[in-house]
Symmetry: C2
Subunit: 262 residues, 2 copies
Amino acid sequence: MKIWMDGALTDIEKARIDPRDRGFTLGDGLYETIRVSDGRILRLDKHLARLAAGLRLLRIASPFDETALTRALGETLDANTLSDAVLRLTISRGPAARGMAPDPAGQPTTMITAAPYSRPGPSRAVIATATRRNEHSPLSQVKSTNCLDSVLARIEAAERGGDEAILLNTAGRIAEASAANLFALIGGMLVTPPVADGALPGILRAEIIARLGATERPLSPADLTQSDEIFLTSSLGVRPVISLDGRVIPAGGMAARIAAEL
Amino acid sequence: MKIWMDGALTDIEKARIDPRDRGFTLGDGLYETIRVSDGRILRLDKHLARLAAGLRLLRIASPFDETALTRALGETLDANTLSDAVLRLTISRGPAARGMAPDPAGQPTTMITAAPYSRPGPSRAVIATATRRNEHSPLSQVKSTNCLDSVLARIEAAERGGDEAILLNTAGRIAEASAANLFALIGGMLVTPPVADGALPGILRAEIIARLGATERPLSPADLTQSDEIFLTSSLGVRPVISLDGRVIPAGGMAARIAAEL
C-alpha cells in the first residue's frame, strides 16, 4: 500500500509519524473520509470546504492548498490502482514539544491513505448509554480526530450484540451515529437532528436535506421508537437500521431508494 | 533525546509511529505526565492506577504490566540523564485498518518520552467561551489523548492575552483548567469542583483534598470572581492564578504554602 505524506508517495511500511506529533499525543488533527467511485472522487469540494472550516477553528495553516491536496488525492488513488475506494485525508498540527498550547510556527503533518471500498451493510444499532456527544463544543461541527466518544459507543454496541451506536447529546436528544448521520421517517416525514444538537454537518446529510426536503428537528429516543424507518448516511453511503436496541425495524427500502436518487 | 517505544530505547529521530496507529487517526489513546524530582519518580502508583482505569474504560489490554512500565520509565530517565524531569507515558490502541470499532486483536503502542522539568509560573487565566468540557462523557474521568477542547481553550486564552484557560462544563459550571485542576479560597474555605462536574481526578487534587481538607463543591464563574485566591494543580506542580479574564487577583501565597506542604 502506498501512502502520501507531506508531499511524497511512499510505501506505508516505511512512512513515519513523528512520536512527538500532536496528532498522536493530543489528538490535535482533522480528517476527511472520501468516497471514490469508478475512479471519480465524489463531492471533493464539500470535503475540502469542511476541512477548511476545521483548520480555521483549530488555527492550523495547511501547507497544501486545495489544488495541491486534490492532486495528492489523485496520485494516492493512482499509486494504489484502486477505482472503487475510500480516501482518507488527515492533517495534524505536527510535531511539537510538550504542552497544550500550539506553537504557531509548528509544521503540520498531511497524510493520505487509500483503501478498497466496500458498501456498508444494514445496521443493528443500539442507543449508547456509555457516553454522550458534546453539542456545546465546536468540535461537534468539524471532523476532528478526537473520536473516543464514538469509539466508546461502538465498544458498547459490540458488547450488546450490535454493530452500530447512536449517540445522544448532553441534553439526551439524538445527535448521530458513531460515524454517520441519522434520518428517521416519522408519520410520513423525513427528519434528522439539527447540527445544534451535535450532528456533524455531514455532506450526504446536507444533500438529502436540500434535494429530498428532509426536515431538521430535535429527536428524542422515544421519537426513534416510533419511526417507520431509520437510516444512516455517511460519505461511504446510505444504510438502513434494521434493529434498534434489539427491536426489529421493518425494512421499508427507503435507504436503497435514497441511495439510488443521490 | 532517547525515547522508549514498545520495549526498546531508541533515538527519537529514528522512532516511528505507524501512520495507521489509531492514536494518530482517531485519538484512541491515553497518557500520563509524571514528575521526576532529584531522580525520584513521584506518585507513580497513582499515575499507574489512573492509567489502568483508562485502559479498562477503553478496553485496551496493555502489553506491559506495571512492573515493566516502571522499569521502562526508569530506563528512559537514565538514558536521557535527567534528574528533574517530566516523563510522559502514552499508550494508544495501535495500528489498525480504517473504521471506528476497535479490533480486539490489535497491538497497542507504548511510548515513553522525557523532558527537562521547569516549574510552571503563575497564570493569567481566562474563562474559555470557545468550548465546554463534557462532564457527561466518562472520558472526562480519564487522561485520554482527546485534548482538543483544552487546545481550543488555550488558543482562545492566547488570543485574549492570557496563558491559561479555565473550562466550564456543559451546564456552565467550572470544570478545570486546560491541563490542571482548580482550587479557590472562598470565604476562608478551600474548594474545588467535583469530578461529576468534569474535573479530571487529578493526583495532586486528591492529595490536597485528603491531606489539607479541601471541599468538593460545584463552582460557578461568579464564585470565582468572589475568590480570595485561585490556584491550579497538576503533576507538574501548584501555581497561582494571578489574573482572571483580565482582573488581577491579589497574590496570597497559598499556592506556595501548599506546594511546600505536599
